[in-house]
């Protein structure tokens, strides 16, 4: 599985240099909404790397080679899911790198500090984006899943704004009692507990996504 991850990294290496400066671009671009730069940076980089790796696989019809090697389709799917964490980490590193440079150099940009809840939030966003994309990719292949992937990406890229807008609207309505109780209970949790709950929830969804992808890919024909 490590070799398959290495394979994807080799295929996206030309993009990695761009990843390093992308954090700066997002900090600059989101000066009016500095706390959105972290989400945008992490989600965009995860998306970019994920799609680039899938594109390379599709362009070279790599399923032929991969399925001629002594490895199972389960391993192929599992490796793609593990790369989610790698790409997300690279997105965080990109933002952190830019943040540190801006702070040390005293560049007059508004930068939002990394907090536990922020980091967990963007990790969840990146994980969910991938969790929604991969089953479609493994079912239909890259060309057919590309547009769908773009829609998912844009939704998560602007997720902070979308979530805040929805929350604001919901505040004008009275919600069902059970949901109100859940929201109240969540509000009473510490930052660490909330982060843990979100992470467990995100990983559970990722697990479901993996099982679905595995089911699709196991029966796919090339």
């Amino acid at each position: 599985m490590a070799t398959l991850i290495l394979k994807d990294l080799m295929n996206v290496k030309k993009v990695l240099a761009f990843v390093l400066i992308y954090g700066f671009i997002m900090i600059f671009g989101f000066q009016n909404v500095p706390d959105a730069a972290l989400t945008a940076s992490t989600v965009a980089i995860s998306y970019l790397l994920m799609l680039q790796a899938c594109l390379r696989d599709d362009k070279n019809k790599s399923e032929i080679i991969l399925n001629s090697l002594p490895l199972t389709r389960k391993t192929i799917v599992g490796a793609k899911y593990l790369t989610i964490f790698l790409y997300t980490a690279l997105g965080l590193v990109s933002y952190l790198f830019a943040y540190v440079i801006v702070e040390i150099a005293g560049i007059p940009f508004h930068v939002y500090p990394l907090t536990l809840s922020n980091v967990v939030g963007v990790v969840i966003a990146a994980i969910l984006m991938s969790a929604l994309f991969y089953p479609v990719y493994f079912k239909f292949g890259y060309p057919k899943s590309n547009i769908y992937g773009m829609i998912i990406f844009l939704a998560f890229f602007f997720s902070r704004g979308i979530v805040l807008s929805i929350a604001k609207r919901l505040g004008n309505y009275s919600l069902p009692h059970s949901i109100e109780r859940i929201i109240q209970w969540l509000s009473g949790q510490t930052e660490y507990s909330l982060a843990l709950i979100m992470l467990i929830g995100g990983l559970a969804l990722l697990g479901l996504s993996y099982l679905l992808s595995l089911r699709f890919y196991s029966t796919r024909e090339f």
Binding site: T3, I65, S68, P70, L71
Partner: protein
């Protein structure tokens, strides 16, 4: 582990598509030999190979490789098989060295020294990108990978298509050397039958998804014959002997599945010659298109 004397056994293999069906295909590849797998374009050769590889799911039948079910022991089997495809499926943007780093760890018997030697023999440098290789060099790289993990079975799907005669000859020499130890076997799928005239021991011929024959090459070439003669020799009874037949104003030329019978029938009046594999394929395919039966 028990191993059959056949390295590959295919029984009743069927696969249905909208416009094509592979129908109850059965043949074996004996250990230590080269099996030529021939048929015109669209006959089902690549479909059969994809079914062996589990790239396609079979509708019926079973496939055994090294005596093991191809699905239940998939990983174990693929560790011992080398594949050479008609197209390049390696990552074009990566170098030979990078591709080797990706592929080698999957094989339990990867031989680095052998791989390096093959690169040297084929005149390839590990820092070259795959996309910079010519078609012939890509095929050689594919072969180097297939041979470097000590594969017991080599499956080649139209590997010589688009290659010049020199490269084709080099490939055939390598294959001939490969099976000298009688431990390795080759399934060579092609519609270029002249390659198989030189090296194949057995021939499996399929057409329109059905098996035409699977037998030792020498037996086939002894059994079949090309008959040439005057048109007035052809009557209804004589025509029944032919798998495929063409006539012109000067005479006829056709393929018979029983050369001995043809000799007895026509005696000295017609010329009966040894066919090539190409003759057999051509007349069989055209003969079926024109409504001739074959045995």
């Amino acid at each position: 582990m028990f191993e059959s004397r056949n390295v590959l056994e295919i029984n009743g293999l069927s696969k249905n598509f909208n416009t094509f069906s592979l129908k109850h295909l059965s043949f074996n590849v004996p250990k230590g030999y080269i099996m030529g797998f021939i048929g015109p374009n669209g006959a089902g050769k690549s479909t059969t190979i994809k079914l062996i590889l589990n790239l396609l799911k079979k509708d019926e039948g079973n496939i055994k490789i090294f005596g093991l079910d191809h699905l239940q022991a998939e990983k174990q089997i693929k560790d011992r098989i080398g594949f050479v495809f008609d197209e390049n499926y390696f990552y074009e943007e990566l170098t030979i060295a990078s591709m080797e780093k990706i592929i080698a760890p999957f094989y339990s018997r990867w031989n680095q020294a052998a791989f390096d030697q093959y690169l040297k023999t084929f005149g390839m440098f590990s820092k070259i990108k795959i996309k910079e290789l010519s078609k012939g060099m890509k095929m050689k790289f594919s072969l180097a990978v297939a041979l470097s993990h000590q594969a017991d079975l080599l499956i080649m799907d139209e590997p010589t298509g688009g290659l010049d005669p020199i490269v084709r000859a080099e490939l055939l020499e390598i294959l001939a050397d490969l099976i000298q130890d009688e431990e390795k076997s080759v399934l060579f799928s092609t519609h270029i039958t002249t390659d198989l005239d030189k090296i194949a021991d057995y021939i499996t011929f399929i057409n329109e998804g059905k098996l035409v024959f699977s037998a030792a090459k020498d037996d086939i070439l002894e059994q079949y014959g090309v008959v040439k003669g005057d048109k007035n020799l052809l009557d209804r009874e004589a025509e029944k002997l032919f798998v495929g037949l063409k006539t012109n104003q000067f005479g006829f030329e056709g393929l018979v599945a029983d050369k001995s019978l043809a000799r007895r029938t026509f005696q000295e009046r017609a010329l009966v010659e040894k066919p090539t594999l190409e003759d057999i394929m051509l007349y069989t395919v055209r003969g079926e298109n024109h409504g001739y039966a074959h045995s």
